[in-house]
Amino acid sequence: MKQAMIRLWDVTIAYDRHPAVQHLSGVFAPSSMTAITGPNGAGKSTLLKALIGELAPSSGSIERQALAPVEIAYLPQAAEIDRHFPMTVGDTVLLGAWRQSGAFGSVSTASAMEAHRALAVVGLADFERRSIGSLSAGQFQRVLFARLLLQNAKIILLDEPFTAIDARTMRDLLGLVQCWHREGRTVIAVLHDLDQVRAHFPETLLLAREMIAWGPTATTLVPPNLRRAQLMAEQWNEDTDLCGTRDRNAA
């Protein structure tokens, strides 16, 4: 998995000429496990969207080392998915076989078996025929992780994967993420819970529109860096943050 690396060269990403991420350079090394953290509006999700190629950088470049889109698995924020869509759990997981089925091809029996196993792994054995609308937020997140399992990608991008789910589901899913790390996949996750980052993620990118620090978690998440990120957030929130500063750790 030597080539599963993403390199950023002075990347700036802007919405309507308002930069959301500025002058970011660095490398997500192969087989690394990185948390992206920072205040609200720091450009974390924006950065992920640029990494999958959905947003084009307005300057600088993102080098994906000839990785095909299917080599990168992406878990969007829960809010971006329509959970009331009339789909079954089985069909949702089978979307993970996109690499094999493509947009138009048929789904093989092997993929269906694989989906069955993936559901068992996330603790939802025999849920195939249930509709996703009947699941709890935690169960639904498990389904999305089963889909990630099926995607079998070299690089896995997770946007706030543990928001609004119970402790047990979080523990199970975090176990899966660590398993991917051990298998040598590159994992990049947007997270808010700093204790969780410290406990489980070797690398951290602290982002506040520009890079505050990027490196081993122990040297990144230190009080001076966190204060700087907070200060920058207060600067851009001046007009909107009427209730005083928010506690960033309470995610």
């Binding site: 999958i52 959905e54 969007p76 329509d82 009339p86 789909m87 079954t88 996109w98 690499r99 947009a103």
Partner: protein, 290 residues
């Protein structure tokens, strides 16, 4: 009066009723799935807006052809509908206006323009035909036209079904794996306009969207999976066409509105007795008892 006389005889006796029936079936087959997908994409009102925006194009086609010729008006309507879809998409991306607001402005403008064009040259009867359709006036050419659009719609839907569903359910995933969500969105809008144009002669610009949205809402009241929804929407649309034609024949009502009213009646009945109906919600739930 026997059942045969009531249900079958009108279609045996009159060719125009047979053609109307076939047109209804074809429209239902195309509009059913399109309506369900429109609704799931939260574009129900967008369908309404698009159907109005077909009008000025159809009106210009009417002027050029000098008669109610479906191919000429259809082509005009298709161009107008697609332009409005593209323009309002463009406006909503480049201005602070949301897409529904820009759709509303475009369709009001095109409705006014369309009525103006028809009324300057045509008679009031022509205007009525354009607005409310003449399902009993459908000839063989129009039938081929509608059938062609339905076949095309079903074929395209079958091919792009998976990306289209994913684009609606989880757009981020589709963009990540395939990268071309907007292509499918545009293809879908194209199908919506095509089906509105097909429904145009039968039901008119004001009601063409009726055979799309009413069956779709009925389907949502009964079904839990997408294939079931599409099946229910399609059968609701075709059944409304069939019953509507019979009722309008026996009672001497205008056919187009009767068909749409039949769909509305099915909707009302589903609201009352369907599995997720208002009445069932008001009743005590069995699983909470004991």
């Amino acid at each position: 009066m026997s059942v045969y006389q009531f249900v079958v005889a009108p279609f045996v006796d009159y060719g125009f009723l047979r053609r109307a029936l076939v047109a209804c079936f074809a429209l239902g087959l195309g509009s059913g799935p399109i309506g369900v997908l429109l609704m799931l994409r939260r574009m129900s009102l967008m369908g309404d807006a698009m159907s109005h925006s077909v009008l000025p194009g159809a009106a210009i086609g009417f002027l050029v052809a000098g008669s109610l010729s479906l191919p000429a008006m259809g082509l005009g309507g298709l161009i107008a509908g697609l332009s409005v879809a593209v323009l309002s998409g463009f406006v909503s991306r480049s201005t602070p206006l949301r897409e529904d607001a820009s759709f509303a402005s475009f369709y009001l403008a095109s409705l006014a323009l369309g009525v103006l064009i028809v009324s300057t040259r045509g008679s009031n009867i022509d205007l009525l035909h354009v607005l409310f359709g003449t399902i009993l006036g459908i000839d063989a050419t129009a039938l081929y036209f509608i059938g062609g659009i339905t076949s095309f719609t079903i074929a395209v839907l079958a091919v792009i079904y998976r990306p289209l569903v994913v684009e609606c359910f989880d757009p981020g995933f589709l963009r990540a794996v395939a990268g071309r969500g907007s292509l499918y969105h545009f293809l879908f809008l194209f199908l919506v306009v095509l089906n509105l144009v097909a429904g145009f002669q039968a039901l008119g610009t004001l009601m063409a969207v009726g055979l799309m949205m009413l069956p779709a809402t009925v389907a949502q009241l009964w079904a839990r999976t997408l294939p079931q929804m599409i099946a229910i929407a399609t059968s609701t649309a075709t059944a409304s066409g069939f019953i509507g034609l019979i009722v309008s024949y026996h009672l001497g009502f205008a056919s187009g509105p009767t068909i749409i009213l039949m769909a509305s009646l099915i909707y009302a009945a589903s609201l009352l007795v369907g599995p997720s109906s208002a009445i069932r919600r008001a009743l005590p739930r069995p699983r909470l008892a004991g």
